[in-house]
């Protein structure tokens, strides 16, 4: 197929072609960036928390009477909760993935040394690991004599005395790259804490990639503040019933407290990501809208050109061009315009990415989104131009003989 008439024809519509190329370029740049943000958000949505997500239910209890001993209170409550049918285990805890209750400590490797990482402290009563379904990949669970109170009324001084900790694999690798973390000593507070176990995964209560999503330390420290979260593990189908019974049982046990936020872990997770889901649907809508508008523009312009060139198409048909040739001609024309747009679009996409990185906490545009965007636009262009191209191909040669 000779391209010279094609180029000549495009040359006659320089400004129109330029506008079309610019539109494709801008669409390509925006869609590539939107797709990258989208991909990142969707990946976050699917992050495994490390806990037995569909077996956990929880509720928060806030005590009103400050005179009673919180440790005794928690033990009584937990004993009652464990007796509910369907409850496999229960624990009083403070932090949980997605519950935003983040108590972070700088971790040093020597007394008063430099911090190597900042990690969230997960504290809970005995049985926390089993209840949450955390899987040890090395080491052991805490021993009964390792537990001590957090000390929330004494400036959380438990952190200075606690003897043992279980850390996530991610934190272990950050602190002791390439070494066996078991038995190593860290300093989250004033005193030395020995690493006795390693869990595979545990997400922090709030996600923040720059800070390490899985930098977590589990301590054998008993919550002793006025507010505590009771977590129960149960079969998925029993969750709602167990929650209701737990609420009733605890209120009956001691009415002088506020019971709130009874929910399953799945609800907690869903709430945490609600904004992200809004954003994801918006980004999707924006990308689709952009592609649709551009497709409509391409189709509109192409059908307009076909209408305008009916006579010249007829002449070409009359002098021997087949329908296929005409079809190819319109398609090739579109391919060239879109290709031009993509070429500029790739550069624009990176420029836009740099701009976005300066203003928002976004990461560099992964390279593979560019060919993805390019292919999408090529396909879109061909799809949009198919109708007008067919119409062009069906122009009969006899049109050439008519005037006008």
């Amino acid at each position: 197929m000779p391209h010279s008439p094609l180029l000549a024809s495009l040359g006659r519509h320089k400004l129109t072609v330029l506008l079309m190329v610019m539109q494709v370029a801008l669409t390509c740049a925006i869609v590539c960036n939107v797709a990258a943000i989208l991909g990142h958000r969707v990946a976050q949505l699917g992050l495994p928390s490390g806990v037995a997500e569909d077996e956990l239910v929880m509720l928060e209890s806030i005590n009103v009477d400050a005179s009673s001993d919180p440790l005794v209170r928690h033990d009584t409550d937990l004993a009652a909760l464990r007796q509910l049918t369907g409850v496999r285990s229960a624990a009083a805890i403070d932090a949980l993935p997605f519950n935003s209750n983040n108590w972070s400590n700088g971790i040093a490797l020597e007394p008063k040394g430099d911090m190597r990482a900042v990690a969230t402290a997960f504290n809970g009563t005995r049985g926390e690991l089993d209840t949450l379904g955390l899987r040890l990949v090395a080491g052991r669970d805490f021993l009964p004599d390792e537990y001590l109170p957090v000390g929330s009324t004494r400036d959380w001084d438990g952190i200075n005395k606690v003897p043992a900790t279980i850390v996530t694999r991610a934190l272990a690798q950050q602190l002791f790259p390439g070494q066996d973390p078991l038995g190593k000593v860290i300093y989250p507070g004033d005193g030395p804490v020995r690493i006795v176990g390693v869990v595979g995964h545990l997400l922090r209560p709030m996600l923040d990639e720059s800070a390490g999503n899985e930098y977590a330390t589990v301590f054998p420290m008993l919550p002793d503040g006025s507010s505590v979260t009771y977590v129960m593990r149960t079969a998925p189908q029993d969750r709602e019933r167990v929650l209701q019974q737990a609420m009733a049982r605890l209120a009956q046990l001691d009415g002088n407290r506020v019971l709130r936020r009874p929910q399953t872990f799945m609800q907690l997770r869903e709430d945490y990501f609600r904004r992200d889901r809004t954003m994801i649907s918006l980004l999707l809508a924006a990308a689709l809208g952009l592609l649709l508008v551009t497709a409509a523009g391409i189709a509109g312009l192409a059908s307009f050109w076909v209408q305008q060139r009916r006579r010249s198409i007829g002449i070409r048909r009359a002098v021997g061009a087949t329908r296929r040739d005409i079809l190819r001609y319109v398609q090739t024309e579109n391919f060239m315009i879109v290709s031009g747009g993509i070429a500029i679009g790739v550069v624009l996409a990176y420029a836009l990415n740099v701009l976005l990185m300066q203003h928002y906490a976004l990461q560099r545009l992964p390279v593979f989104y560019l060919p993805l965007g390019a292919v999408a636009l090529w396909l879109l262009g061909q799809l949009a131009v198919l109708g007008p191209a067919r119409r062009a191909a069906s122009v009969p040669p006899v049109v050439a003989t008519r005037s006008g």
């Binding site: 400004l15 129109t16 900042v118 508008v293 307009f304 305008q308 976005l356």
Partner: protein
């Protein structure tokens, strides 16, 4: 003449119904999407305390230790104060008014009947809070500096909580039990819900939240009531509320004129130097004093996701305009014959330009109408979001006008280049080729 041009425009669109509809649709979508986000921004960025915000300032001193160059050292600086610094500035009282504050949450019991305790959020603050922010009192008043010093058990209730506890009767003088201590109600506020809740620690719930009780900060410390919000600590002197290595308090001052602002800044600088002499505040002296609106901007009160959505919608409008520009150019050039005849009959370039300009404005106008509908729909969808700002997303008369202006401007702008190109068509040449 303009009327005649409008008639020509209408007949030209009738010839290309599908294309005209496409252009109107595209402009409408672009305008609708961007106006939705611009309206949300307009609402969220408005002054939470009109008339007073110019006099309110946030002093910022950085209490953190020197950076030791490690990857994870000092916590982020969010402008919060440590207890000693806040108390020092409060005692110095060098501004017209000043108050320290922190978020709090307490369980409380309904006064009548045996209902279950419930949880309420409020603020622990100091005496000047009410006068400085000019809070409207339904009855009673705030407390005095003496109450602060004596750790008095006094409380100011929000209207909603007062009604919940005491019904329609005047709550002033009555007693409420917060956690396990009795407080005397000294005042009840009328509905006061500045949006955003500018004086609070900045977080994702800064919009749509309001405080239902206010009580003296020192009293709250004394009773060890529960605090809400971030407590950032560093160093190794424990995680105490009173430690000078934990920042968590907000501090606001009222400064009535520029001279007072300068004087206060000088005072803060002197304070920082003096503390350095005592071995505190090791970072280089760099006092900041933000006005209320600057503070909100500096703290990114409007969520980043919304900014991103705004940029995205503007980008979308841009693509839509390019699209319409291309389509208009194609329609105009198709009528080269008609235009060159008009030129040959004596129409000046200016006339052609005006005629085509009217055509694109008609598209812009129709697109604007559609855009308002799309924006209404968009704002409705924003109101369905679970975020605190969602309920604020309404269009006012000003934004409605802005939508139309933007649509007309977008239409005219999109038509500018095509019209310019078309009016350069030479009369003779086109006639010859016919």
């Amino acid at each position: 003449m303009l009327g005649y041009y409008a008639t020509i425009a209408a007949s030209s669109f009738r010839r290309n119904k599908a294309l005209a509809a496409l252009m109107v649709l595209v402009i409408g979508l672009g305008i609708g999407a961007s106006m939705t986000m611009i309206t949300v921004f307009h609402v969220l960025a408005s002054d939470p305390l009109p008339g007073r915000s110019g006099k309110l300032f946030v002093p910022v001193i950085d209490p953190r230790p020197l950076d030791r160059g490690q990857s994870a050292s000092a916590p982020q600086q969010d402008g919060s104060f440590t207890w000693p610094d806040a108390m020092n500035l409060l005692r110095a009282a060098r501004a017209g008014r000043q108050a320290a504050m922190a978020g709090g949450a307490v369980p409380l019991r309904p006064t009548q009947g045996g209902g279950l305790p419930f949880y309420e959020t409020g603020r622990y603050t100091t005496a000047d809070f009410f006068a400085m922010f000019d809070t409207p009192f339904l009855s009673g008043s705030g407390w005095t500096a003496q109450d602060d010093a004596q750790r008095a058990h006094v409380v100011v209730l929000g209207r909603e909580l007062s009604r919940k506890l005491f019904g329609e009767t005047n709550a002033v003088g009555r007693t409420v039990r917060l956690k396990d201590a009795d407080f005397r109600v000294v005042g009840v506020l009328d509905t006061w819900e500045p949006q955003p809740q500018f004086y609070a620690q900045m977080d994702s719930r800064i919009f749509g939240r309001s405080d239902q009780f206010f009580l003296p900060l020192q009293t709250a410390m004394d009773l060890k009531l529960d605090f809400a919000g971030r407590l950032s600590c560093w160093g190794d002197s424990g995680d105490g509320r009173t430690s000078d290595q934990c920042s968590w308090l907000q501090f606001w001052v009222q400064l009535d004129n520029a001279a007072k602002v300068d004087a206060y800044r000088a005072f803060l600088t002197a304070y920082w130097r003096e503390q350095q002499a005592h071995g505190r505040l090791p970072r280089p002296v760099d006092v900041q004093l933000y006005g209320l609106m600057d503070w909100l901007a500096h703290q990114h009160a409007i969520p980043d996701d919304l900014r991103l959505q705004l940029s995205l919608s503007v980008g979308f409008l841009l693509v839509c305009m390019l699209n319409v520009m291309g389509l208009l150019l194609a329609t105009f050039l198709r009528r080269s014959g008609e235009i060159s005849v008009r030129r040959a009959l004596g129409a000046r370039r200016r006339d052609i330009f005006l005629q085509l300009g009217v055509e694109s404005s008609v598209i812009g106008f129709a697109g604007g109408l559609l855009g308002v509908l799309v924006a209404m729909l968009g704002l409705w969808s924003v109101r369905q979001r679970p975020d605190g700002y969602a309920q604020l997303a309404h269009m006012d008369a000003g934004m409605l006008l802005a939508t139309f202006t933007l649509a007309l401007a977008a239409g005219a702008l999109a038509g500018l280049l095509p019209a310019w190109r078309a009016c350069r068509i030479a009369p003779a040449l086109q006639l010859k080729t016919q």
